[in-house]
Every structure is written in C-alpha cells, then in structure tokens.
C-alpha cells in the first residue's frame, strides 16, 4: 500500500497543479493508473494577519466540488514533506509513510518540495519609465531578502517577455539580471504572466510569481481570466507588488487584487517603489509559512472548473483565516504536452 501511494506521488509530478497526470507502464510490478495530484498552498492567519504555525494535516478539511478529499502530503513552511495515509475510524487520522532509502519510487523531499521557486516578473514598459530605477532597487532588495527560497528567476516584460535570468539558486546572477533590464515599449502584462505561469507550471513544489508592475496593460492578447485560471490550475501563487500609481487605474487594481487572491497570493500597493519593505516581508513570511497540502481528487465527473474549499477543523481554529486558491480546471492534455515539449527543448544542451 505504501508503495502504491508513493508511486502515485511520483507519477503526478509533471502536473502537481492538477492537470492530467502520467500513466505508469502496465507490467507485473506496477499498476496502471491515471493520477491527478492537486497541490494547495494554504496560508493560515489570525485576524491581524499573523501566521499560524504548528497545524497538522488533521486540522484541515478539504473538499472539491463539496466532495471530501484525503490529504496525500503535508508540509509546513520550509519543513520536510510528510507523506500521509489516512487511518483510523472514517479515515480521520493520519500516519506518515516511511520511505526506504534507495527505493526507486521514493520522492526526495529535500529536492522536490524544500523551499519555493520564485519567478519575478518585472514590468519594463513605458508605464514604468519614471520609476524604473527605483523599481530596480526595490526588486534588488526583494531578491536579497528572499530566504528559504530555492531558486529565483527574473523575467521582464513590455510588449514581449524577456527571460532575463533563468531559475537559479545564484542570487548574484539574478541581481545582475535586474540591472540589465531596459525600459520601454507597450505593456503586455497578461501575455507575459501567462508565459511565466507556464514556465512555473513545470515545477513541482511551491512556486510563486511576484509581479512588479504599475499596472496598465495596453498590449495583451490574453485576458486576465485565462491567466488566473491557469495559475490556479497549476498551483502557482501570484503576488502583485505595485504602487499607488496603479490605483489610479481601477482595472489594474481590480485584477491585481482578484487574481492574486484567486491564486492564494496577495496584492500590495505601497506609496512608491522605495516603500515596499512591508510587502517584501509579507511575501517572504507567506512563502515561509504556507502549508503545502496535496491530495488525489476523489472520483468527480465534473470535467470543467472544480471548486476547492479548505476549512480548519475544530472550534478553536475557526477564528483563523485561510487563504488558498479557489479551484482549478482540468488541464487539456494538449496544453500539457506542449508544455512538456517546450521543456524538453529547453533541456537540450
């Protein structure tokens, strides 16, 4: 049974966000099964916004389209991943799965789930011209401040997306990338965000996109709805860091707030780019305190949008607030395969 569970986890890696999973070979030792692993990043805070730590898998109740789901893995902050089996009457208790060393089906938690991968998406359009260098300073500060994050990438966008620094643990490389960005051209935020979400979608574990933008979009072809859905479906958190300049444009404000909320992230509007310390600390704390919970969806005939609800169990916990993504849509295999193909291309020497 343990092996079966672990196999499921392994197979689900390509689409831990909730897309169609892979199928194992049907031979004597393995079981052919289609799997979908849904991974949630859950922030639990009190009414002052302080993070609540120390909760366990038994404290969370997850439903998908009102169907109760069983937790498969559980992780708090940057702690180790716990593989779980539900036990006890009604399956309400949990026991951890022991992973044997050298077991080919064993996940390596330190590699798979330790720390988050953060993509920074920097608006370098004309809208940022006046505050461009201050925004660069802010991003540099943000990168320096990131702790407990495995890898960071820097992308920038104007009309096109530019992959300035690929995902790397080397902060210096990313900082150089920040100082190499150039300003100008139209703004296609949602185009750029879509491509960034697709890159993030290939990764397992916690992944977040932090957008530095003053807001207006005058060149995107995809609507924010599509981007938000893809981010939710792939379990990618979006944080938006902006200034009060963005608040003069209600469309951007609305999208920033709603899109980040829908993906389990947050939007921040500070006075200016020099004044983003609070936002950085908040994101840093968020990434460090998120509970990463995954489950294999129970049978569900819904092939469209699936709503997710996460609640805390027990009277004492009801005073706390939960922030996570609102649901996901089953990804088309076509999208999945395209994504994988691009990944394969990128992996070529």
């Amino acid at each position: 049974m343990k092996k079966y569970f672990l196999l499921l986890c392994l197979l689900a890696i390509p689409f831990s966000g909730g897309g169609a999973g892979a199928a194992a070979q049907d031979d004597a030792s393995r079981i052919r099964v289609s799997v979908v692993l849904v991974q949630l990043n859950v922030a639990v805070t009190d009414n002052k916004g302080n993070y609540i730590s120390g909760l366990g898998p038994e404290d969370f109740a997850i439903t998908e389209d009102k169907i109760p789901e069983k937790t498969a893995t559980f992780e708090e902050g940057n702690g180790p991943t716990r593989r779980l089996m539900q036990v006890g009457p009604g399956g309400k208790g949990f026991t951890e799965v022991t992973e044997k060393a050298g077991d080919p089906t064993s996940l390596e938690p330190s590699k798979k789930f330790a720390g988050a991968n953060v993509f920074i998406l920097f608006d370098t359009s004309n809208y940022m011209y006046r505050g461009f260098v201050f925004a660069q300073d802010a991003i540099a500060d943000f990168i320096r401040s990131l702790e407990g994050v495995s890898q960071v990438a820097l992308y920038s966008y104007s009309r096109d997306l530019s992959k300035v620094a690929p995902l790397t643990p080397d902060r210096s490389q990313v900082l150089r990338g920040v100082r190499s960005t150039v300003a100008g051209d139209d703004a296609a935020l949602y185009n750029g965000l879509l491509l960034t979400v697709k890159d993030a979608a290939r990764l397992t574990g916690r992944k977040a996109i932090v957008v530095f933008s003053n807001g207006p979009d005058n060149a995107s072809l995809v609507p924010p709805e599509d981007v938000a859905e893809l981010a939710q479906s792939t379990g990618t958190i979006i944080y938006m860091i902006s200034t009060q300049a963005a608040e003069s444009e209600p469309v951007s404000t609305a999208v920033f707030e709603r899109m980040s909320k829908a993906t389990g992230g947050k939007a921040y509007f500070s006075k200016g780019w020099q004044d983003e310390k609070q936002a950085f600390a908040s994101i840093r704390d968020d990434l460090a305190h998120l509970y990463a919970i995954s489950y294999y969806p129970a049978p569900n005939s819904n092939r469209g949008w699936r709503s997710i609800s996460v609640k805390l169990v027990g009277k004492n916990l009801q005073k706390y607030r939960i922030r996570t993504r609102a649901g996901y849509r089953l990804l088309q295999t076509a999208q999945a395969s395209q994504s994988m193909e691009e990944s394969a291309l990128a992996a070529k020497p």
Binding site: N126, R159, S162, S172, S180, V182, A219, V222, E225, A334
Partner: protein, 1040 residues
C-alpha cells in the same frame, strides 16, 4: 537602452531606411573591436561602444562602419517630433554627457579604477547612485540617488552589480573605459561644417548628428549609395548642395549610380537623351544631373527613376521602349506635383513598383488587358473621390488602346487606396496570368469582379491561386456572397459567413496540398459553395454546411466514404514511409490539440446529434447515447470571471461581447430530447447546432495555420468562438469579406483579443496575433511587427509533402553551386562579369559593389559567402546555368552534381518546381497565395497595405532550411516539422536596428541553423538512415 515604443514608432517612421545597402551592413559577425584601418577617417564616441549602441538603439551585432549611419538614421527617424527632441534624443544626449564625465574619471589610462569603498564617491555620484548604510556596514548596497543619471547608468549597461560586489568585498573595481573610434563617411569635418545657424559649431560628429536631423538624414542617405557614386557626389555637387534634397536622396537615392563619370540611367545608354530631357541635365554631368533629379517635381522624378532601377532588366526593357519612358513619367507626374514624393515618413506610390514589376506583356509587346478595353472604360469611369483619377480622366479621355490603359494605371499609382482601378487591374492581371490564353477571364467576368472588388477583393486570390476555377466558379462565388450579405438576421448571417468561409478555407488547404484532384477542383468548388446560395434558417444552414463539407471531403478522399477524418486529411496526404507517417501524426496531433484547447465539439458528435434529432422528428425515440452526446455541447464553460458585468461595461471599450459563446452555453438539447419535443422543435434544435458547427469548421482553419509558439490558440478558449464575422464590434463597418483585423488587444476587461472580418488571409492574421509570444533573445527586435508575420506565414502556409529527396538535394546544390560560381569568379574576370551582371537584377548597387570588390580579392571571399542571401546564390546558379549552359559544371562539384541530377530528374530539379515548393506566398505583390520565387530586389518599406511588400520580398528562409535539412540528412517530409520550429527560433534571434535590416535577418537565420546543427533545436524524430539519405541523391546524381 530606452526601448521607446519602438515598434509603434517604427510603423510610421521607418520607411526611410535601407540597411541592406549600408556600407558594410551585410557583415554577419558581432561588433568588431579592432580599430578601423588608418586610412579610414574615424570619429570618437565617448565610452564603450556597447554602451553607446544601447543608448543609440543600434544593434550590438552591427560592424563598426555601420554605427554612424545607423546612429544618423535613428536620430532623424526617432529623435524629433514636430521639431522637438524626443525622449530618445534627450537620453542619448545625456548619456554622451555622462560618458564624457566618466571618460575624464578614467583619465589617460582609459580605465575607471576604484580601489575601495571610500574611493568610490565620485564614480557613484556620476552614476546617480549612493551607498546605502555607508562603507563597511553589513547591509551595504547601492541605491538610486539621482534617477536621471541612474537611468542612464542602467540603460547604457554599466556594470553596476560588479561595482557593488567589489565594494562589498572590499576589493578594487576596474573597468576599461576607453573612447571608441568608429569609421566616418568621408571626413568628420565634411559633416561638422555643414550646418548653419544654431546647429553649427560642433566639432564632434556625434554632437553634430544629434543636433541637426537634416545632416543626419543626409549622412544616412549617403551611406546607402555605392562608394564610387558617393565619392563623386561629394566632389560635386558636394554635400552642402545635396543637403536640401536629403529626403529625396534618402527615399529614392539608393539606386543612383555613377560610373566612369556618368550616371547609370535605368533603361541603358540609349535612354540617356530622354533622361536628359526629363531631368534637365545630362547623365554625363552627374554634378548637375543628380541634384536636379532629386529636386525635380517635388521628388516625383527621383521616385520614378528609383522604381525603374529596381525592376529587373527584362521588365525594364519593356517599360522604356516605344516612348514609354517619357510618357509614363508624364502620366505619373500628372498636372499636380502635390503632395511631394518626399512627404511623410513613407515612400510614395508603392503600387507603381508593383505595377512595373508585375505588368504582363503580350507577344506583340503591348500590355495585357484583362477582359477588354470596353470593360476598363467602365472601370476607370466609376465614381471616385480621388482628385488624381478625376483629373487624369478629364485630361485623357481616350482608352482605345492597351497602351492607354497602362498610362492610366501609371497615373493612378499615386492614389492612396487599396481598391482603386489600379488595384483591380493588378488583380485581374494576376488572375489571367495562370490561365492559358483561351481560358482567360471574359469581359463579363472582369466586369463582375471589378464591380464587386471593394467587397470581395481579398477572396479573388483563390482564383489566382487556382486557375482551374472557371469564370462560372468566380461568378457563383460573387453571387453566393451577395446573397449572404442580404441575410437580415445578423446571427444567421454571421454563422453563414463563418461556415461558408471555413469550408472554402478547408477546400483551399486540401487543394493546395494536392488532395483534391485537379480535374475536380472546379466541380468541387461549385458544389461546395452552391448550398449556401439561399439560406433562410439555421436548420437549413446546418444542412448546407454539412453537405458542403461532404462535397470537399468526397473530392479529397473519395474512397473513404462517410468515415473520413477531416483532421487526418488536413494533416496532409497519406504517407507511406515511417518518417512521413510520423510527421503526419505530429501535424494531426497539433491540429487536434488546438481543437481540444478551444473546446470545440467534434464533427462526429454534431452530425450524430443532427441525425438523431432528425430520426426523432420522424418518430423514433431518443436513445441514451444521443443524450450523452448532447451533454458534450455543455462541456464548454466560460472562463471564471474576474470582472462583474457592470465593470466590463465600464472598463471595456465597446467591443464584441462573447454573445456567440454565451448562446452556446445556454444550448441544452437534452430537454427537447427527453420531452420529446414536437417535430418543429426537434428541427429547430438541429438549427441550434449551427453555432457549434461553425466554430468547429472555423477552428479547423485556425488549427491548420497555427503559428509556431502559439499561445492564444491554446490558452484562450474563446478565441475561435469570438471571431466576429458580421463586424458588430465596430459600428459602421460592413467589410464582411475583408482580411481579418485583430481587436481587443490591451483591453483586460474585454475578454481577450479576437479577429474581426473574414477568414481570408487567416494565416497572416494568426501570425499577427501570436507573434508577440515568441520571446526575443535580444532587446532590439524592431522589425517584429512588420516582418515577423510574413516570416511565420512562409512557415505555416506551405507544406512539403510532394518534395522528393532529389528536389531537396537540388535546392542545396543550387545554393552551393552559386557559391562555387562566386569562388571561381575571383580568378576569372570574365566569369566575374557574368556573375555580377546576373546579381545586378537582385542586389542593390551598394551591396553589389561590395560583392564585386570582394570577388576581386580571393581573400575576401570567405567573408562574402556568409553574407550572401540564399535566394541570391540560388538565383545566381539557376540563371547562370540557363544563360550559359554547361559552364557552371566546371566550377565545382556541386555544379557537376546539379547537372547530373538535372539530367536524371529534370522536373524535380526545375526552377518551376522548386519555386512552387520553396517560394513564399506574395498576396500583396502578386495577389496570390501560390508560392513562387520572384526575381526581385528587396522591396523597400511602404506604408499602409503595401507594408507587406517588404516582408514578401524576403525569400531566403525556406531555401536555407531546405539546404540545412539536406545537409543534415532529413527527409523532405521533415520540413513540415522543421520549418516552423526553425522559423520560431530565427524570429527570437532577430537583432535589428531598422526595418530593412536584411543582414539581421540573415544573421538570425544562420544562428538558428547553427543551433540545429549543434542539436540545440527541436527534438526531431530520428531519421532512419540519415547518412544514406544524404548520400543517395549524390550517388544517383553521379551516376551517368
């Protein structure tokens, strides 16, 4: 560097330039750092060249001699707006100032040295930064102190992070900061002494150019002229006299060539007298001839001279004989020389170049007349708002001879329109071009098409691409189109337009892929469009669309009966080889992936539902499978809303709503099935399937033309459904049959971009849509919008199913043989003369001159070969073999192999076959989507609908990909997979400075090719016997 909305600017300011003829702009290597030869005058640029190029918006990959020309070009193009300096110019000026400050700091050692943190104050201050927390503190960083200076520091690429890290570590920071010297045209003082008034007094050329856009434009214009000519012009009339005509020289001067003290006039020596009369000075006297030519008639004579110089020799011979040279100019000039030919940012009269390039001549030397002259009398007398046409028609009343028709067309070429008599003439000529003389269009058909030109002109390309379609087919199309336009119910009209146009699109694809037999092209066309002639209800439309689709499927796959899979057909003809089958499957998979991501209902489901409903209306009960199928219609969901309805109304401009998609979501056939409904209700329910059917048919077209790297097609499930066929998005337009426009861009609350218009030219519209998702590898990808769509179309519209290994190998051999000819001509002056003569039909004078110089020195050959466009070497070999049979064989092994291959497989190796398979579509230049290699020089950039002429004249890519494929041993079918992928990579690598930067295209193409060779591109299925495949044709070719 400041990336101002370059593309936006580019669309209206870039028509001036002609990078491909700049002094050394053909070089494909990186920025050379070696100093210029001592004999070449140089100018000083403060600071590193790399930083300056960033600030000046010049590609890092240009060679040093091209820096000043491109700087000059950018200054006059982007530096001023209504006489005021733009942000671009301000930043450039500030940067130069900052660089000079840093230069002083660097001192005589030309190196900035900071030994430690305490020593960094001055440098950090110049850079616009300050030390946060101070030296020695734990959290020591650099932060912005002076945003204006800091911006320059960042934009110019100063290594700020290196400085920061050095200071943090307490180690010295050293940065070479030598001034850069770049070659100057003539002497620096020739330019710095040109200006008058406030603009004079500068001793440095950079300062001079920044402060005087007139001088900058003249500088740019002069660099596009060949060396001998510009030296002659410098001598006399001199730069000062040329300065007032800088605009004309820039637009129309690149073809001016002075040889041996004489201006080479288009048409040859015997036209010198006519040119003397036209210009008012003899070509023997360049110092008078050139300035007069440029100034005459507000630049119109220069424009005429330029066009005649650009067309190939055989066309030009026609155009200058029988008094045409002078007469045509009088036609063009007309009675009014306003507006000037130099007005604005685009060259004028683009269709004069198209007309002179494409006009057909009868055997008796007269121009071709489609229909007859009586028809044209009606056409030219049609009501018009054009003053030019009215004036001409008033002045010249007779139209009794073909010459007079051509006269009129020349006169009309100054009219800015895309639906005037000239455009009709050009289209009708192209329609006739592919037809045998006795099958040319009748006067009645010409009249009918002309009178409906404004509405249907974009669809007439079908008839030029498929000349087997008869007059009757064209007539039926117009009549069906008219009847659809009269459908009053907007929803029904939209669905009818979409369904018919989608089926026509599918017919074109299958016909283009050779799946509809030639003998059935005409009959299948007629049977396909006839069902749409009288549509009055949705149910009737469903049956018509289904029946129409059945006709073309039956024509394409007669043996498959009703079980034919349209996707399999679209993916290409049936393949017998493993490679062919693999590629076929791959293309089918791609088509299906778009259909799935757009959540389109399968044709099988729709037809089964229709059949089931029909049976129910005849009394049969509904079965459970039918209800399950009806459930499939409801699987599509709208994306989760981010905005409320009222927010959408407030924040989205009044654009097309998702009404069509919302109607589908409301469709629930299960009710009528379960009830069951009355016969009328069941029939009406069949009508409810129409929107689904339309979308699937339209989606098949979209999927077929999926550009490489497409994202919208996979991520916006409303994209196909949102296609606005009835143009309700824009009030007052009823151009239902025009090429689609992209709407909804940059409107976050509007639900995403979509196309409005018809399905004609869909491949281009999709390329326009998806192009921005190809992430450029370089900052400067300026030519994106103007060139990339055409580049993508040349990779998505063609397929290569009928190319044999022999043909593929021949494409490579032609190019290699062209290179052999170049190599051999370095030692053989007679051969060199022949080579240059052939290339003169394709290369601009300045570029030709450099090629000629390189061919005189064997050591320069290695540098020349990579700078030659594949289309040029291909053309050289093909023409040489034709003009001098047998001579090309001896110049090298490729020539010999080509000769052998040609003997064995004359059809596969023929120009016609290769041109058809490896040419690009020329919908603007040749009014057809047929592929063809045209023997033309690169077209300059024009405004408006003619802007595509420029992209259509780039024909090298597919020839180059074919050569690569052959050399790497890929079978020809693999081109279907390789070409889009390589084109995507090439696009990402474009690093250009201006629109006509052909060398940048060549560089990007070669870089993509190198990556393929290195295995970095495309996980292509391994070919079974790569080496064998490569050797096979050669062996065969070597076999007598």
């Amino acid at each position: 560097m400041m990336k101002f909305p370059l593309r936006t600017v580019a669309t209206f300011v870039v028509a001036f330039s002609c990078l491909s003829v700049c002094p050394s702009l053909c070089a494909a290597s990186g920025v050379p750092t070696t100093p210029a030869p001592p004999s070449v005058e140089t100018a000083t640029i403060p600071g590193p060249l790399r930083s300056f190029l960033r600030m000046a918006a010049v590609s890092q990959k240009v060679p040093a001699p091209d820096v000043m020309p491109l700087l000059a070009r950018n200054i006059f193009m982007q530096g001023y707006q209504r006489g005021n300096p733009t942000e671009y110019l301000l930043l450039l000026g500030r940067y130069v100032q900052q660089a000079r400050e840093l230069q002083i700091l660097a001192g005589s050692t030309n190196a900035i040295h900071v030994s430690n943190c305490d020593d960094a104050g001055t440098l950090v201050q110049i850079l616009g930064y300050r030390l946060r927390e101070g030296c020695g503190s734990k959290n020591f960083f650099l932060e912005t102190a002076n945003p204006e200076r800091a911006f320059l520091t960042i934009d110019s690429g100063f290594p700020l992070t290196d400085l920061e890290e050095a200071l943090q570590k307490g180690v010295a920071f050293d940065y070479p900061y030598a001034p850069s010297r770049v070659p100057v045209l003539f002497k620096e003082s020739d330019w710095t002494t040109l200006s008058a008034g406030q603009k004079k007094g500068y001793v440095n050329l950079v300062d001079q150019l920044i402060n005087d856009p007139g001088v900058a434009r003249l500088y740019w214009a002069m660099t596009k002229i060949d060396t001998e000519t510009r030296v002659a012009l410098l001598r006399s009339p001199g730069l000062r006299r040329l300065l007032p005509t800088a605009a004309a020289l820039d637009f129309y001067g690149s073809q001016i060539s002075i040889r041996g003290g004489r201006v080479v006039v288009p048409g040859g020596a015997w036209t010198q007298v006519t040119w003397r009369d036209l210009v008012g000075a003899s070509p023997d006297n360049p110092s008078e001839f050139v300035p007069r030519l440029l100034a005459k008639d507000n630049g119109w004579l220069a424009a005429y001279f330029d066009v005649l110089s650009r067309v190939n020799e055989s066309q030009r011979e026609h155009l200058v004989e029988n008094g045409r040279l002078k007469r045509f100019y009088e036609d063009l000039r007309g009675s009014d020389i306003e507006p000037p030919a130099t007005r604005g940012v685009f060259r004028q009269a683009p269709d004069l170049l198209v007309l002179f390039t494409r006009v057909e001549w009868e055997a008796n030397g007269e121009p071709h007349v489609p229909g007859n002259l009586d028809v044209w009398k009606q056409i030219v007398r049609q009501k018009t708002d054009s003053k030019t046409i009215k004036d001409y028609n008033k002045r010249v009343r007779g139209l009794d001879h073909p010459e007079q028709l051509l006269d009129a067309m020349v006169a009309y070429s100054r009219v800015v329109t895309d639906v005037g008599p000239l455009q009709i003439y050009l289209t009708m000529c192209e329609l006739d071009k592919g037809r045998v003389p006795d099958k040319r269009m009748s006067p009645e058909t010409v009249s009918l098409l002309a009178s409906n030109y404004a509405q249907f002109n974009n669809w007439f390309l079908v008839f030029s691409e498929f000349p087997d379609l008869t007059d009757e087919s064209a007539t039926r199309f117009v009549n069906v189109g008219d009847s659809i336009d009269k459908i009053s119910n907007e929803t029904l009209r939209g669905n009818t337009l979409g369904s018919l146009q989608a089926n026509i699109g599918l017919w074109q694809i299958l016909a283009r892929q050779g799946q509809i037999p030639t003998a059935q092209l005409n009959s299948s066309w007629q049977k396909m469009i006839d069902p749409f002639a009288k549509i009055t209800s949705s149910t009737q439309l469903f049956d018509a669309a289904r029946g129409s689709l059945g006709v073309l499927l039956a024509a394409a796959a007669p043996s498959n009966g009703s079980s034919v899979d349209i996707v399999e057909l679209l993916a290409g003809p049936r393949q017998d080889t493993p490679d062919g089958q693999r590629v076929h499957q791959e293309l089918a998979r791609r088509i299906r992936s778009v259909l799935e991501d757009q959540h389109l209902v399968s044709l099988e489901t729709l037809f089964a539902l229709s059949d089931g409903l029909s049976e129910m209306s005849q009394g049969k009960p509904a079965n459970s499978s039918l209800i399950t199928l009806a459930g499939e219609l409801r699987e599509f969901e709208m994306p989760r809303p981010i905005f409320t309805q009222s927010e959408k109304i407030d924040w989205a401009p009044r654009v097309y709503t998702s009404h069509h998609a919302e109607l589908q979501i409301q469709t629930d056939l299960t009710k009528v099935m379960k009830a069951p409904g009355t016969r009328a209700q069941l029939e009406a329910a069949r009508g409810q399937l129409v929107p689904f059917l339309r979308d699937t048919l339209v989606g098949l077209n979209y999927a077929y033309f999926e550009p490489p790297g497409a994202q919208i097609l996979h991520n916006n499930p409303l994209f196909v459904r949102s296609h606005d066929f009835t143009e309700i998005s824009v009030v007052g337009t009823e151009q239902f049959w025009q090429t689609p426009m992209l709407l909804g861009v940059g409107s976050p609350a509007g639900g995403g971009a979509y196309l409005m218009g018809s399905l004609t030219d869909l491949s281009y519209a999709l390329a326009m849509t998806e192009q921005d998702f190809i992430a450029p590898e370089n900052v400067q990808a300026l030519i994106w919008k103007e060139l990339v769509p055409d580049l993508l179309v040349s990779a998505t519209l063609p397929r290569w199913w009928t190319v044999s290994p022999h043909e593929l190998h021949a494409v490579a051999l032609y190019q290699r043989n062209g290179e052999e000819l170049l190599a051999a001509s370095t030692k053989d002056p007679q051969l060199r003369a022949k080579v240059i003569s052939i290339l003169s039909d394709r290369m601009m004078p300045a570029r030709l001159e450099r090629a000629e110089l390189a061919l005189q020195h064997e050591e320069d050959l290695a540098a020349l070969i990579p700078r030659m466009m594949p289309a040029d070497t291909f053309y050289l070999a093909e023409t040489f073999r034709r003009k001098y049979p047998g001579e090309a064989v001896s110049v090298g092994p490729a020539g010999q192999q080509l000769e052998d291959l040609s003997r064995q497989y004359p059809t596969e190796v023929s120009w016609e076959k290769i041109s058809k398979d490896f040419g690009v579509p020329h919908p603007t230049m040749a009014r057809t989507n047929s592929r063809e290699l045209l023997n033309v020089k690169p077209f300059p950039f024009f405004g408006g609908y003619s802007s595509r002429l420029f992209g259509e004249s780039w024909e090298s890519t597919n020839l180059y990909w074919a050569r690569l494929a052959d050399e790497l041993g890929y079978p020809p079918v693999m081109l279907n997979r390789l070409v889009p992928e390589l084109t995507r990579h090439m696009t990402a690598k474009i690093f250009a400075t201006d629109l006509e930067d052909w060398p940048a295209m060549l560089r990007a193409m070669q870089e993509a090719g190198d990556e393929l060779r290195q295995g970095k591109i495309a996980p292509l299925p391994s070919t079974s016997t790569t080496a064998q495949r490569q050797d096979q044709p050669v062996k065969e070719a070597n076999t007598p």
